[in-house]
C-alpha cells in the first residue's frame, strides 16, 4: 500500500494540492479522475520525485523505483521504436523487446521512427518504454490519449495483470469503469474528498 498524507504543493501563490491524502492499493490499476487543472499531473510528478511537496509525506515508495509516463510522449525523433525500448532496458533484457512491443500492440514497427507513427502509436510507444523500466509503481498520465477505445481496454487488461501497482490518470469513462479502483478528485486545489 502506498500512502500519501497531507500533501501540499504550491507554485508561487497558486496551491495545487492542499493537504491531500489518499492510498494506492499494493496491486492492480488505480485510476485518478477529475477536472482538468485539478492537480492530477502534479500528484503523479510528486510521486515520481520530480516535484517536492511543501508539506506532507509519501510512504511505501522506494526512492527512484517509480516509472512515470509523461503527459506528452517525449519520444526521441532520432531513435527507432525498437531503440526506444533498448535505451531503457539493460542489455541482458533486450530479448524482451518483442513481448514489450506486443503489450503495446506495436509489432512490426521495430524500425519505424517516431515521425512516421500516428499519435496513438506514439502514445503506445511512450507507454511501452515506460513499462520497460523496472519499477515498484507505474505512474501513467493519460496513457490512452489518442488510442482507440477497444485497444485501450485490451492494454488496460494487460496492465491489470502486472505484479506492481499502476496509478493512471484518465478522463475516459470506459477506462475508469474497467480499472480496479477509481479515485474521483475535485478542485483545484485538490483536497481530500
Amino acid at each position: 500500500m502506498i500512502r500519501c498524507r497531507d500533501l501540499t504543493v504550491s507554485f508561487g501563490d497558486r496551491t495545487v494540492l492542499d493537504r491531500f491524502s489518499f492510498d494506492v492499493p499494493a496491486a492492480g490499476v488505480t485510476a485518478l479522475s477529475g477536472p482538468s487543472g485539478c492537480g492530477k499531473t502534479t500528484l503523479l510528478r510528486v510521486l515520481a520525485g520530480l516535484e517536492k511537496p511543501r508539506s506532507g509525506a509519501v510512504e511505501g515508495i522506494v526512492p527512484r523505483q517509480t516509472a512515470l509516463l509523461f503527459q506528452d510522449d517525449r519520444l526521441l525523433p532520432w531513435r527507432t521504436v525498437e531503440q526506444h525500448l533498448t535505451d531503457v532496458l539493460p542489455k541482458s533484457r533486450w530479448g524482451e523487446v518483442p513481448a514489450r512491443l506486443a503489450l503495446a500492440e506495436l509489432e512490426g514497427e521495430e524500425h519505424t521512427f517516431p515521425a512516421a507513427l500516428s499519435g496513438g502509436m506514439g502514445r503506445r510507444l511512450a507507454l511501452a518504454r515506460c513499462l520497460a523500466l523496472e519499477a515498484g509503481l507505474y505512474l501513467l498520465d493519460e496513457p490512452f490519449a489518442g488510442v482507440d477505445l477497444p485497444r485501450a481496454l485490451r492494454i488496460l487488461e494487460r496492465l491489470k495483470a502486472l505484479p506492481v501497482p499502476v496509478l493512471l490518470v484518465s478522463h475516459e469513462p470506459a477506462v475508469l469503469s474497467a480499472a480496479d479502483t477509481v479515485i474521483e478528485l475535485d478542485g483545484p486545489p485538490l483536497r481530500t474528498c
Binding site: A48, L50, R64, A67, L68, F70, D72, R74, L76, P77, W78, R79, T80, D87, V88, F113, R129, L133
Partner: protein
C-alpha cells in the same frame, strides 16, 4: 539504370558553375577589348590562362608540397579550434561562473582584427606555427557560439525524461545531446572550415612559412603573376570545399543511426 542518378546529379550541379565561368569569360573579354589586348593578364585573366597556370603548377613537386603543408597546418588549427570551442561551450553552458569568466574573452577574440593576432602570434611563436594558431583562434568562437546555442536549445523535457528514466551521463550525451546538437555541429563545421582557410592563408601571406600556399600567393603579388594568383586562389577554395564536404560527410555518417 545505374548511371541515371549520377548523370541527373551532374546535370543539376553543372549549370551554376558553367554560368559563372561564362560570366568570367565575358568579363575577361571586355577587359581585353578595353585595354586593346595590352595588360589583360594583369587585371582579369581568361579562365583558360588560369587553367594553364594551374596545370603547369600541378606538375611540380613544389605545388604539392605547398598544398599538403598548408592543408596539414590548417586542418590542425581547425581541429584544435573545434576541440577548444566545444570544451568552452560545454563549460560555459554548465557553469554560470565559467560563462562569466570565459565568454568575454571569446567575444574579444571574435571581434579583434585577425591581422593584429597574426602579428602578435608571429612574435610569440615561430612563423611556421602562426597559420595553425590563427586558424584555431578564429574557429574557436564560431564553434563555441554555435554549440552554446545548440546546448541551450535542447528540449528540457527530454533532459527531464533522461533524469526520470535514470539515463547515465554517457547515455544522455549519446542519446540526447549529440543528436540534438547535430544541426549546430554541421553549421559550425561549415562556417569554421571556410574561416580556418581564410585566416590560415592570410597568416601564411603575412608570415611566409615555408612551404605554403600563402607564400606562393605572396610571390604572385610580388611578380604580378595574376593567372597564378587566380590559380592559387582556386586551389585554396577547392581545398576548403573538399575539407568541408569531407567533414560534413563524416558527421552525416556518424549520425546515420540517429535517423536524420
Amino acid at each position: 539504370m545505374g548511371w541515371a542518378k549520377p548523370l541527373k546529379k551532374l546535370l543539376y550541379a553543372l549549370p551554376a558553375p558553367a554560368f559563372w565561368l561564362g560570366v568570367w569569360q565575358v568579363c575577361a573579354f571586355l577587359v581585353d577589348r578595353r585595354l586593346g589586348g595590352r595588360g589583360n593578364e594583369l587585371l582579369l585573366p581568361y579562365p583558360a590562362s588560369v587553367w594553364s597556370a594551374l596545370a603547369a603548377m600541378a606538375g611540380t613537386g613544389e605545388f604539392w608540397g605547398a598544398v599538403l603543408t598548408s592543408l596539414g597546418r590548417i586542418a590542425l588549427g581547425l581541429g584544435w579550434g573545434v576541440t577548444i570551442g566545444a570544451v568552452l561551450a560545454v563549460l560555459t553552458c554548465a557553469s554560470p561562473w565559467a560563462d562569466r569568466l570565459l565568454s568575454p574573452a571569446v567575444r574579444v577574440v571574435r571581434a579583434a582584427p585577425v591581422a593584429s593576432f597574426i602579428l602578435l602570434v608571429l612574435l610569440w611563436t615561430g612563423r611556421n606555427r602562426v597559420p595553425a594558431v590563427i586558424a584555431a583562434m578564429m574557429v574557436t568562437p564560431v564553434v563555441w557560439d554555435n554549440l552554446s546555442r545548440g546546448i541551450q536549445a535542447i528540449d528540457p523535457r527530454l533532459l527531464e525524461l533522461a533524469r526520470c528514466y535514470r539515463f547515465s551521463r554517457w547515455k544522455q550525451v549519446v542519446l540526447i545531446y549529440l543528436p540534438a546538437l547535430r544541426p549546430y555541429i554541421l553549421t559550425a563545421l561549415t562556417t569554421a572550415t571556410g574561416l580556418a582557410w581564410k585566416s590560415g592563408v592570410a597568416a601564411e601571406v603575412l608570415c611566409l612559412p615555408e612551404p605554403s600556399l600563402g607564400q606562393r600567393i605572396y610571390y604572385t603579388k610580388y611578380y604580378l603573376d595574376i593567372p597564378e594568383l587566380f590559380a592559387w586562389t582556386a586551389v585554396t577554395v577547392a581545398l576548403s570545399m573538399v575539407l568541408e564536404r569531407l567533414l560534413r560527410a563524416c558527421v552525416a555518417r556518424w549520425g546515420r543511426g540517429w535517423g536524420r
